[in-house]
Amino acid sequence: MLLDRSTRARIERLSFTARRRVRARWAGRHPSFRKGESLDFADYREYVPGDDYRRIDHALWARLGTPLIREFEAEEELPLDVVVDLSQSMTFDRKAHTARVVAALLTYLALSGGDRVRLHALPGSGGRAWESGPGGRHLSAWPRLETWLESRPEGGVALLQPPIRALSAGPVHGSVVLVTDLLTEDWEGALDGLVGMAGGIVLHVLAPSELVPDLAGDLELVDAETGRVLAVSMSEQAMEAYRARVERFAADAAARARRAGCDYLLVPAVPTAADDTLAALAAAEVVA
């Protein structure tokens, strides 16, 4: 069980807030690019045959002599694509578990708000770069989605750009939740590719040992995914340089995410990651 009952009860009182208008197939509660049937007045336009004559503003027609039609805002659902990175690099220090938990958190948040959710995991099975899982729009789908999230295997080499490109090229541009450590060669292109989506959140999961490494002496570092070997002498100077690089890495990722219209959140893989993430999203007004 990724989310316990009390956590789910807290989430049910919250809802996901879209940063921009959405373009979806089904009505929902988020503002859309289209005009619709909501109570929020949007604009006037000249009457053309076929319009609903019940929307003609008779007072304005009498004063201007031209029949004008009242238009209202449309409200549509917010499709949410949750992409979870479960590659080999995520197997260190609870990172994969943390990724599953925060992905489950946002999935449940969307379902409780009536938004359509679809899960994706990478790398995919059978040598595929990624794979899509089940989707849902109501809380009744939660057990199925949770089971799928829990059952995804860990390991392998991940690339972020293929799923982002596929989602951007789709007919419906919803929001995306990208849960990853960004430790792939294409992380910059992937974040830049999010500009084609209707916003989203980048949850950058890093282990404490990646933020402050506990290493000493002369070492040969072996990349868990690529097998690349790097000789490093763990001097104080090297540690300082590494910490500065991690800070630049996080700052760069945040900047690229924001340029693509997404929110960025650094999630340390600690046992309190779910609560910390929820609090940070509330502070950023991503949930309300």
Partner: protein, 599 residues
């Protein structure tokens, strides 16, 4: 501080490889990380082309260098010199003769011995020799003060005269080539000059304390014409004439009290009738104010068995033999049915009694004559043989003797390979065979002849058959052989001493008094054995003093004599402590704990 093995310091070169190991770069440890992306192209040196690095003094290196230094120091055996009376091996001879009981001589000697041996150690070993009538090694090569103390506590003053010559020989026998040995003689000097003076490599510490002394000089029971008389002699070793009271007891009950006046530095004998049965123990004890030598204030005697042993002399018969038997107390010559038989040459009769056979035409059973040898001198006397006790045959010359084969007989006197006197048994009876004719030797005119004859006849008669003779303290007691029985000797203090089955002698007779022997059979029954009396040596009662001449001793230059005290135990203890700290530092890595806690 000095070093016993300074060459061990050369091992300090081991520090070079140790430091070298710290300067070598360790093989890089492989660590798998999620990604090396963030580690690449850091603007810092991450590897080196050379296999060594600048030496950094770490706590571990310092500890290991310290341990190495202590290890080398241990092998170098550091020591300090402490002024000491001891050398590498010191043999302390403590005189336990009767004269040492005078005043506090013995107490002073023991205290002095404790003082001398207080620094006993592995490097300064000590042996203790009891320098009494029968010298013995009490402890040898002791390295701990406890052993020395126990040995000194075991020493006890007896009533005999010290045999310091034998004690010194015994002490010299303890010398080993690897340890210079010096002797310390704690003695009042004995009564006679030693055989070899000055004693080389020895020191004599004398004890001259003196005081008043009155003694029972001798006590014996004589039977003449069927009348028993007690002979007692009292000595006054003071410069003032005294009248002493002697209390006579028979089997512990007071029999009489005698008032005997004694002139200064002289003795007074007394004889008086005694009504006592054979076997009764007679005691004589000085009563009145005590003196400074209490051991000689008492004496004992045992009333002899009235029956004399008849000795039948057969064969050609020598006047020397008849005279010998006549002169020996307890033996009477007879013509028929003697208890003992002496066969002097001629044909060999049937040996139906214990016999002394002197060169008969046919030797006893078990002896075969091979040839004759002429002009022989005695070259061997069996050491420790009771029959030869106080018998010196070194001047004896024999004109002719039989060369015999006697595999089951024990030769006790020989000339080269030619046995002259043999002991054996014929049909379970003791037999002495002399292979030479007494008249064709000078033995009968030697001082040793009556002693040898008496001893031989005593042995033939059996130790438990003769009269009880009072001998000086320290004289061993001859025990008859009783098969399947354990000899038990009860000393004058009433303490039982169990001996090994078949033991022939009991030597611990330095305490004056009556010694009783009994034989305990396996079924618990006991049979009474001989009674022996040992008296205080009258010469010891004088408690004289003389200085033993010595040379090349160590005590004279005590100030420059030093004891080697090694530091090895402390160095080893420090090494172990450092090794423990090194292990803790190396494995627990205390300086890493704060980081781990922070992580």
């Amino acid at each position: 501080m000095s070093l016993l093995v300074p060459g061990a310091l050369g091992l300090a070169s081991l520090a070079l490889p140790l430091i070298g190991l710290y300067m070598l770069r360790s093989r890089r440890r492989r660590v798998t990380v999620p990604s090396v992306m963030l580690w690449g192209n850091l603007d810092i040196p991450v590897s080196s082309a050379v296999p060594w690095q600048k030496l950094k003094m770490t706590p571990l290196l310092a500890l290991q260098l310290g341990i190495l230094a202590l290890f080398i120091l241990t092998l170098a055996r550091p020591f300090v010199l402490i002024p000491s009376l001891l050398g590498p091996h010191t043999v302390v001879i403590v005189d336990t003769s009767g004269s040492m009981a005078m005043s506090d001589r013995f107490t002073q000697a023991i205290e002095r011995a404790r003082l001398i041996t207080r620094d006993v150690s592995e490097a300064n070993q000590v042996s203790i020799v009891d320098g009494g009538p029968v010298p013995r090694v009490v402890t040898a090569f002791a390295t701990s003060p406890d052993d020395v103390t126990a040995a000194l506590d075991a020493l006890q003053v007896g009533g005999g005269a010290a045999d310091l010559d034998a004690a010194i020989r015994l002490a010299r026998g303890l010398a080993t080539p690897d340890r210079p040995t010096n002797l310390v003689i704690l003695s009042d000097g004995g009564n006679e000059e030693l055989a070899a003076e000055p004693v080389v490599g020895a020191d004599h510490l004398g004890f001259i304390a003196r005081g008043d002394n009155l003694s029972v000089e001798s006590l014996s029971v004589e039977t003449t014409g069927g009348v028993r008389r007690l002979f007692v002699s009292v000595a006054n070793h003071t410069p003032i004439a005294r009248t002493v009271t002697v209390e006579v007891t028979v089997d512990g009950a007071v029999y009489d009290r005698l008032e005997i006046p004694v002139e200064a530095n002289s003795s007074t004998p007394r004889r008086f009738p005694l009504d006592a049965v054979p076997g009764a123990v007679i005691g004589a004890r000085l009563v009145g104010p005590g003196d400074d030598l209490g051991l000689d204030d008492q004496a004992w005697a045992v009333v002899a068995d009235a029956a004399d042993r008849n000795v039948e002399i057969v064969g050609e018969g020598s006047p020397f033999l008849t005279g010998l038997v006549d002169a020996l107390p307890g033996f009477v010559p007879t013509d028929i049915d003697g208890d003992l038989l002496v066969v002097d040459r001629g044909p060999l009769p049937e040996l139906d009694r214990p016999a002394w056979v002197i060169r008969t035409e046919t030797p006893p059973e078990g002896i075969t004559v091979r040839a004759l040898a002429r002009n022989l001198a005695v070259t061997y006397q069996r050491p420790g043989e009771p029959i030869l006790d106080a018998v010196d045959l070194s001047e004896v010359v024999v004109a002719e003797a039989q060369v015999v084969d006697a595999p089951d007989w024990l030769p006790i006197v020989r000339s080269g390979d030619v046995p002259l006197v043999l002991l054996g048994e014929v049909d379970g009876r003791r037999v002495v065979y002399t292979t030479f004719d007494l008249v064709h030797s000078n033995l009968p005119v030697q001082v040793a002849f009556p002693i040898l004859g008496a001893n031989l006849l005593d042995w033939l008669a059996g130790a438990d058959a003769g009269p009880v003779v009072t001998l000086p303290a320290g004289t061993p007691i001859s025990l008859p052989v009783v098969t399947d029985a354990v000899p038990v000797v009860t000393d004058p203090d009433g303490i039982d001493h169990e001996l090994a089955p078949g033991a022939a002698l009991y030597r611990a007779t330095t305490l004056p008094g009556v010694y009783r022997v009994r034989f305990v059979a396996p079924d618990g029954t006991s049979k009474e054995g001989p009674v022996a009396v040992r008296s205080f040596d009258p010469a010891e009662s004088r408690a004289g003093f003389r200085t033993i001449a010595t040379s090349a001793g160590r005590l004279a230059d005590t100030e420059t004599t030093a004891k080697v005290r090694e530091w090895a135990p402390w160095v080893i203890a420090l090494s172990l402590t450092l090794m423990t700290i090194e292990w803790w530092v190396g494995h627990q890595r205390p300086w890493r704990r704060p980081k781990e806690a922070a992580a």
